[in-house]
Structures are given as C-alpha cells and as structure tokens.
Symmetry: C2
C-alpha cells in the first residue's frame, strides 16, 4: 500500500495512492491506523508533501556500499557510519531545494529510506520488520566542502532541504535488500545500483540504529547510497527511482 | 522569570517558579505567551520534567572553551565545532540516566544552554537576543569511547538520556557571557568555570547555528563546556549549577 501525505487546500492529509486515485485517510496512519474517509482525489490534483516529518530524527548511514566508500577515497568500514539529520532538513517530492549559502559543492545521494512505525529500542535484526511502517525514497544531500571542513557533519548533511523524502511510503516491499536505485540528473543516469550491493542488510541497519537511540514512530533511517554520486547545480532536476516504491524528484535553486 | 515544566498528576504543565511557589500557566508559553491560571502549587509538591522537549533539535557546540579543548588534546579551533543531539536524548532535572550498554566511559559536561523562542534563520549575532526564549542548564553527556571510535558522534552524544536539561528556563539572564558554571560529582567540585572564558559569545553561537539550520521554537543550543570534564559511574550524583539559573541534578544507573 502506498501512503502519501498531500495538500488540497490547506492542511496536509494522508491518503492511500491507488493508480491515479488518492483515497483520503481519517487522521494520522502512524497513530490511528488506515481508515479511509470515502473521499477520493486524483493524484494530479493534489500537491504531495513529505510523507513524514519525523517528530524526532532522521538517522543516516554512510559507507554502506563498498563501491561508494571507495569512490570517495574511504576505507570500506567494519561498522556502518551513523549520523543525524534534523527534521528541519526534510522536504517532499517536487519541493525546490535552495542550495545553502555556505556551500559550492552539494552532492546528491540516492537512497532507500526506512520509516519506523513503533516506538522501539534494541530491536534485533530478525525482528526489525515488526517496527518498520514502510519504505520511501531519500536524497541524502551532502555539502562536500562543509563535510571536508567540519569535523562533524551537522551542517554538511543537515541544512534546510538536505533531506528530500517521497513521493510516498510503500508499506509492502517484497525484498528491501534487493531493490534497484537509479538517480538521474536532468534525465541522465548517474547512479544505477541495488540494495543487494550493501554490506549490511536493511534490517541490520534498523537494529544498529535502535541500539543507539529509542526510535519513535515516524523516525526515518537512510540506508546509504550506491556509487555514482555527483554535484548538483542551480536549475538541476534530480530524480531518484527506487524499484517498487516510485520516483522522488527535486529541483535546485540558489 | 523562571519557567518550569512539571507533573502533578498526569500530563505535564508549565508554570512560573517564584521562590517555592509554582504558578500554573495556561497552555504552552512557547506558543501562547505567559498566562497564569490562578492555580499555584508548592515546588516541593511537583515533579519537574525537562523544561522543553525540542520539536526539532538540540544543537551542540564543542571546543568553545580554550582550556577544555586543550584538556582533551584538541587544537583550539578557528570555528566552533557543531553537532546534533536528538530530542530522544533529553531528560529533566532529577531524572535517572541509564548509562548506555555500548559505553564504559560516559563523561559529564556542564553547560549553559540557550532555548530558542521563535522560528528563525540567518540571525545576526546582534539580533540573537530577539530569538532567545531563555536559558537553562545542560549536561552534554558524551560517551568518550564511542566518540573515539565513531567518525560521527551521533551515538556518542545522542544516546537516550544524553541531554539532561533543567531545572527550568530562566528568561532573564543579565549577562549570558559572564555566568559561572560549577559541576559537582557526589558533592566534589569538578568544573568551576565561567562563560566569560568562551572563545565566542553566546549570541555568536546562536548566529552560527541559525546559518546552518532554521531554528524552531523550543530548539536548544548547548554552548560548550569549561575544563574539568570527567567520567561518571553508576550511582553518581552530578549537579551542574549555572549562576543566575539554578542547579541541574542527574543520577546515573546501569
């Protein structure tokens, strides 16, 4: 099932996307379950917004793909590298991202994202599926110049707009450890990988995040990016397609 | 004025602390201003909780005191080091902190904390006072072993309980750049510094945080710790007193 968050007139609502239909839900599916109101809109008539603004945190993992670790000149690590992005960095599908004034080198990173459905701590990998609400597509935007300069990546990965998420949350993904990730910049393929190249499984990453922190419903875990990252420029149209979920589009401006 | 958040029976409320009186406020002073209900409790009869759980983020600054940078063997930096702690790390005055299973070396760091009152971005230092709701006391707990091991400090500084805040928010602090910070472990003085030893002013740090991110009402900025940090053990009672605000107490357990 595909759960979108969208605006028709004013306040955001949740809905189930079925082809071009969006069946409006009553309330917040993270806390009230899936209850349809009987109202349906056409997908073309609504404006999608970020499917979730975490009440707590976005947890990112880095260097989870061997080839990407190598392309940035890093060792393939024994442990996945974990970092935080604040909820003020989250934007939705189609939202413009203003490149931050402090950076001349913002890079795209196409990723599979996990959306947590339940409060949890110390979840073993084999139980991770129980705490996962669904999956979405993320662009883990990173200011490479700030990343080189700053010992901690708060600013490099946490600026406003640094975490496009969307277009919606897919609650059933047959095998999260075997989905294709393709990133296109202005229509040209730049990343073409699969989560089957990851060093750790998606469930392993959920387990590791939950060892570090209590996870809350709506928290998001970014699972890392395959090889092929590159810089974005003003005016670029970046599309990230994750197999079985959909395509997240972002446009960039100064 | 001292704004506390506390529990009498069930849901947390806000109140103004005046000596041993707590005058209950109607609603959330961050969004609804200071309106008293006419109900008053005695401070001894209420249980204080964290004066704010940020809806977005805790932004920490490190190496802002020359002597502390040196004691950890770091260069005195040209720029303050910025990091994030998630809101799941926040606990209140008197709350027990469970030392995380992944660390044998958790250190206290007594700090002055700024609580943001308004949504803002790119605030110049000379206007920072306009966006500050008030000040509280923080213990920027840090797992030194994880900090050494992990390239990013998400886990080292972000574990559950890693950010005790309290006992309340003081909205008027005569000179935030000249307040004493004393940390006592089991009654013994371990840190005895002043914000007048900081390399940057408090307003400078607010300005820098707001260059990196949009700040939301209730976001918290930790201004760094003076020299004298050390490890905490199970059973320790750590008290951090910031002049003009009050004393934040934390007890530790495994």
């Amino acid at each position: 099932m595909r759960i979108a968050r969208f605006v028709v007139d004013s306040d955001p609502m949740y809905g189930v996307v079925d082809g071009n239909d969006v069946h409006v839900l009553a309330g917040d599916p993270f806390f009230q379950g899936i209850k349809t109101t009987g109202v349906t809109h056409q997908l073309d008539d609504v404006r999608l917004v970020a499917p979730i603004i975490p009440r707590s945190k976005v947890i990112g993992f880095g260097r989870t793909y061997r080839e990407h670790a190598k392309e940035l000149g890093n060792e393939v690590p024994n442990e996945p590298l974990m970092f935080l992005k604040p909820n003020t960095s989250v934007v939705g599908h189609g939202d413009p991202v203003t490149l931050p004034a402090f950076s001349e080198e913002v890079s795209f990173e196409g990723e599979l994202a996990v959306v947590i459905g339940r409060i949890c701590k110390d979840v073993p990998a084999e139980k991770a599926a129980d705490v996962i609400f669904g999956y979405t597509v993320a662009n883990d935007l990173t200011a490479r110049d700030a990343q080189r300069k700053d010992p901690q990546w708060a600013r490099a990965k946490g600026f406003d707009g640094a975490c496009p998420l969307g277009p919606w949350i897919e609650t059933q993904l047959t095998d999260p450890d075997d989905v294709g990730i393709v990133t296109r910049v202005n229509g040209e393929v730049r990343q073409d990988g699969s989560t089957n190249e990851m060093i750790w499984s998606v469930n392993d990453l959920v387990a590791r995040a939950s060892e570090a922190f209590t996870l809350l419903p709506g928290d998001v875990i970014l699972t890392g990016t395959p090889a092929g990252v590159g810089l974005v420029a003003e005016g670029d149209n970046v599309e990230i397609e994750v197999e079985g979920i959909g395509t997240l589009r972002s446009v960039f401006r100064r």
